[in-house]
């Protein structure tokens, strides 16, 4: 993966011309063209910050700034919808530039997040760019990704959400935080990824068949959260992003500073967020507030032409309230809750306070990376990463014990990687590496409750190799990966007397994938992919045992589970027809043998809290297939229409019943009206959007406590504008979600048993770049 700014820099050529110019008679001229079509971009704004001098590109994309004194300047180039490009120039003579902007991606903007037209992978890649991250600062990672077709969110209220890609979530997908596999407690259905998306400049979803390069359990898809390399820019620059939202009276502030001085390049990012009780159309959702405080530090040092190193540290800290009315004691309580018009414990007043039930998560990551070039076309990467994850979950308990966590887990992981890459003649590329990791998971003995999952130490060793070849119209890719996992477990018995039971499991995983991309013409891309991957049973699937109050059931792990094996194939077709129509389509089919799932048993177990249904982890053969479609139509210069559709179906083939937690189909439409310039205001944009979510009809009555909620429709709108001050660029937006304040419940939100989803929400955001 390359990041956007290196791309922009690589595609930006400085063509110096010799000139006799002295004093303040220098000119900066240039042409702005579209990255993919090479067509000129007109009406782009060019702005030389130091002297507040501006120009607009003409119909051939040309611009001219004259009477400039020699010196060092910051040049901003912006175009409607595009991410603003900032260049640092040391001007001593007349200078001519060619700037290529990624106009294809901006065409769709965050309405439809378009694939970066990467030819370096045959896997389907979709990304959120910096603009869409900046204009969704109110969202957490999963909710942000919800904009991408084929990606849904499994939620436990609004604050706790995890991404579902092509029907798979949790341990079946891998999340990479700055290139490092995120190690946390992702087995939990109500555990959000422990990452602040605002530290990233780009968030990418690879809707693939098996990404071989990364250590993880992925049966297909991968999410990459990536900060940029620090731009080569000697002055301190930064960003300030603030939002306010009416629903929950939430506030958030994100600050970034960076500098690339002669000695070292550095960046510091900090985020603070706080919000109180959210509101459904008819009532407050008591105890649904959240608070977050994160920092990230990045240091980069170029030691020589062939040697550079970087250090990255991030700290993510959050406290999340869980709807008070969703805390239930037994099945009778659940049945009562299902029949309530509004949840128990609903209060007439808004509050910021977070009480039990709640979660507190702290995640720290330290990464040290160094890169050596062997010649110009081969290089070696070494990385070390350490992660410390602390998770505490609080329940409503007796005698003041609500302040003691009912679950308290510490996970410490270490990761070491050596990677080799080489670019050879005839477009041949080789990538290979070895990865080692150790994860130690410990229950902190402060809960007074039998642990839900046992303590363990997990060793994993993996090697991979990928070979690819690129020619003018074709790209091939083939790779393999082998992993060996050794897990040592120390559990506490359920039977009396309580004693320690030890297990040792060893697994081997072999994965392989291959793909081909064909570009018959530059604007059309066809890609096909096939992959085999396997996933080892996760700790909760093997050993969880006991009452899971949140789901009102007794969950029994099965120590005899074996690996699940997946075969997935994808076929994608994307491109543009003329200048008007852009589209992306992807069909996929995945078959998973020995798919592990929680099966309801024909059995109720009596406890002092009453009788509970029993669920056991079982294995079956499953298949998942679906379609993701996105398209934009340029109605006129200023008006665009966008449409996204995704459909997915999952089947338990052995029992011939549907798979649960499959996202229902949905259609997203949007109209975007853009005005490049009105007086001093730039990039004025109006958007109206609509999301229709179908009812999940593919569910049998015994598979759930209540039937899937009916279809719903959400209307939204957004206005955004930009203004350039001498050294600062200002972007202001106003979004409205659920304008009509409709009451609805979402199948993938586990709190749908208890309460309606969120009502209308106004979000005002201010982003400053200086």
């Amino acid at each position: 993966m390359y990041n956007k700014h290196t791309l922009l820099f690589a595609l930006f050529f400085l063509l110096p011309f010799f000139s006799m110019a002295q004093d303040c008679t220098v000119t900066i001229s240039g042409q702005i063209t579209d990255l993919s079509t090479e067509e000129p971009i007109s009406y782009a704004t060019i702005f030389l910050k130091e002297v507040s001098k501006g120009a607009i590109s003409d119909s051939s994309g040309f611009f001219l700034l004259s009477d400039i004194c020699p010196g060092n300047y910051h040049l901003d180039i912006s175009h409607i919808g595009c991410e603003t490009t900032e260049l640092y120039l040391e001007i001593s003579q007349d200078t001519s530039l060619i700037v290529r902007m990624d106009h294809n991606a901006q065409l769709l903007d965050e309405v439809i997040v378009s694939g970066a037209h990467s030819k370096t992978s045959s896997q389907e890649v979709q990304a959120l760019n910096e603009k869409s991250i900046s204009e969704n600062t109110d969202q957490n990672l999963a909710n942000m990704l919800d904009n991408i077709s084929g990606v849904s969110t499994l939620r436990n209220g609004n604050g706790i959400s995890k991404p579902i890609i092509h029907g798979l979530y949790g341990n079946r997908i891998t999340i990479l935080n700055n290139g490092i596999t995120q190690n946390g407690q992702q087995w939990g259905i109500d555990h959000s990824p422990e990452i602040d998306p605002l530290v990233a400049n780009k968030i990418t979803v690879i809707k693939g068949v098996g990404v071989l390069e990364y250590q993880g359990n992925s049966l297909g898809s991968v999410i990459l959260v990536e900060p940029n390399k620090i731009e080569n820019e000697p002055h301190i620059h930064g960003k300030a992003r603030y939002f306010f939202e009416s629903n929950g009276l939430g506030n958030g502030l994100n600050l970034q500073f960076q500098q690339h001085n002669k000695k070292i390049a550095w960046r510091a990012v900090g985020t603070l967020k706080k919000s109180g009780d959210k509101r459904s159309p008819d009532y407050f959702l008591r105890n649904t507030g959240s608070a977050e405080a994160n920092i990230a530090l990045q240091l980069e040092k170029q030691f020589s032409e062939s040697w550079n190193s970087d250090i990255y540290f991030s700290s993510f800290n959050t406290r999340l309230g869980i709807l008070r009315g969703s805390h239930i004691g037994n099945l009778t309580d659940l049945e009562e809750a299902l029949n309530q018009d509004q949840p128990f414990f609903t209060e007439p007043d808004f509050a910021y306070a977070i009480e039990a039930p709640s979660q507190q998560v702290n995640h720290q990551l330290l990464k040290v990376h160094t890169q050596y070039f062997i010649g110009s076309n081969q290089w070696i990467d070494f990385s070390y990463a350490g992660q410390l994850d602390l998770r505490k979950e609080y329940d409503v308990r007796r005698s003041g014990r609500s302040d003691e966590p009912a679950l308290s887990l510490k996970q410490f992981s270490n990761f070491l990687e050596a990677k080799y890459q080489g670019d050879f003649r005839f477009g041949l590329k080789v990538k290979t590496g070895i990865q080692l990791s150790r994860i130690a998971n410990t229950n902190i003995p402060e809960t007074g409750v039998l642990p839900l999952i046992p303590d363990y130490i997990n060793y994993k060793t993996g090697v991979f190799g990928i070979l690819s070849k690129k020619s003018e119209k074709l790209f091939f890719e083939l790779g393999g990966r082998f992993d060996y996992q050794d897990r040592r477990i120390a559990a506490i018995s359920i039977s009396l007397p309580r004693e320690i039971v030890r297990y040792n499991t060893k697994f081997q995983n072999l994965s392989t994938s291959g793909g081909i991309v064909y570009n018959p013409i530059p604007t059309i891309k066809l890609a096909a992919n096939i992959g085999l991957a396997s996933r080892n049973p996760e700790i909760n699937e093997l050993y969880s045992n006991g009452l899971h109050q949140g789901v009102s059931g007794i969950e029994e792990g099965n120590p005899d589970l074996f690996q699940e094996k997946s075969f997935k194939t994808t076929f994608s077709f994307e491109g543009r027809f003329g200048k008007k129509l852009f589209f992306e389509s992807l069909v996929y089919y995945q078959s998973i043998s020995d798919y592990i799932f929680l099966a309801p048993q024909d059995e109720f177990r009596l406890t002092i809290r009453g009788a509970f249904p029993v669920f056991k982890y079982e294995q079956t053969d499953a298949q998942i297939y679906g379609l993701d479609l996105s398209t934009t139509f340029q109605v006129s210069d200023k008006l665009q229409a966008a449409l996204k559709y995704s459909y997915i179906k999952g089947l338990d083939q052995t029992n011939n019943i549907p798979l649960i937690f499959m996202p229902p189909g949905n259609i997203f439409t949007a109209l975007n009206y853009q005005i490049p310039k009105v007086d001093n205001i730039q990039n004025l944009e109006f958007q109206i959007n609509n999301k229709w979510v179908f009812e999940q009809g593919n569910l049998l009555p015994f598979q759930d406590y209540s039937p899937a909620p009916p279809a719903y429709n959400l209307l939204g709108a957004k206005i955004s504008a930009e203004k350039q001050f001498s050294k600062t660029r200002l972007n202001i937006y106003l979004k409205v979600d659920n304008i009509l304040n409709v009451s609805y419940r979402d199948y993938l939100n586990r709190q749908r048993y208890f309460a309606d989803d969120l009502g209308v929400n106004f979000i005002l955001g201010i982003n400053m770049q200086f």
């Binding site: 239930i328 004691g329 037994n330 005698s399 270490n414 410990t442 007074g448 130490i457 506490i492 002092i608």
Partner: protein
């Protein structure tokens, strides 16, 4: 110096990792003191004259694991019993008396009694500081004629004691979450 030591230890750890050392196993986990668990419930029924009746529910290993042992009882017709509920955590050593915890947090707890035996009447014989019932102490009177059925005892945590009917023992509007729900077989003869 300490930091250097630490990095040295982590380096060692990786050498260990490379050789996948056999000795690196999790330490013995601390077996928690499950002090909040309710393993045992007794309802002692004392008539003015006659035989003491004890209904009991025992699930010593907590939820899951072995099945609980439930003992119902036989009540005499046309008799008034004084009921005393006691709750224990027998996993604790010494045995924890949960009834004391309930009494201390009386405002946040209430027991409910439901039966399908016609004429079997349960009324509260205690109250919290706001004058609402708790249910640790009750008066139970039996019908004139013999019959059999069940008695279900429910303990709600943080119920809305002011909701309609709740202080009279009607559970429908109580809300809160269930901490105990046990059902006993009862014969009146």
């Amino acid at each position: 110096m300490r930091q250097i030591n630490r990095s040295f230890i982590s380096a060692l750890l990786f050498v260990c990792l490379l050789s996948s050392c056999k000795e690196d196993i999790p330490k013995d986990p601390v077996i928690p003191n499950e002090e909040e668990l309710i393993t045992t419930l007794y309802l002692n029924l004392m008539p003015g004259t006659g035989q003491l009746v004890t209904l009991s529910f025992e699930d010593l290993d907590g939820a899951g694991g072995a099945a609980p042992i439930i003992k119902g009882g036989t009540l005499a017709p046309n008799t008034t019993y004084e009921g005393i509920l006691t709750l224990f955590n027998e996993l604790e050593d010494p045995v924890g008396d949960i009834s004391v915890e309930i009494e201390d947090e009386a405002l946040d707890h209430q027991f409910f009694f439901q039966t399908d035996i016609p004429g079997l009447d349960v009324s509260y014989n205690d109250q919290d500081s706001e004058g609402n019932p708790i249910g640790l102490r009750t008066i139970i009177s039996t019908p004139d004629s013999g019959s059999s059925g069940t008695l279900t005892i429910t303990l709600r945590h943080e119920p809305d004691k002011d909701a309609t009917g709740v202080s009279e023992g009607d559970i429908s509007n109580a809300g809160g979450e269930t901490d105990i729900q046990v059902t006993f077989e009862i014969d009146v003869q």
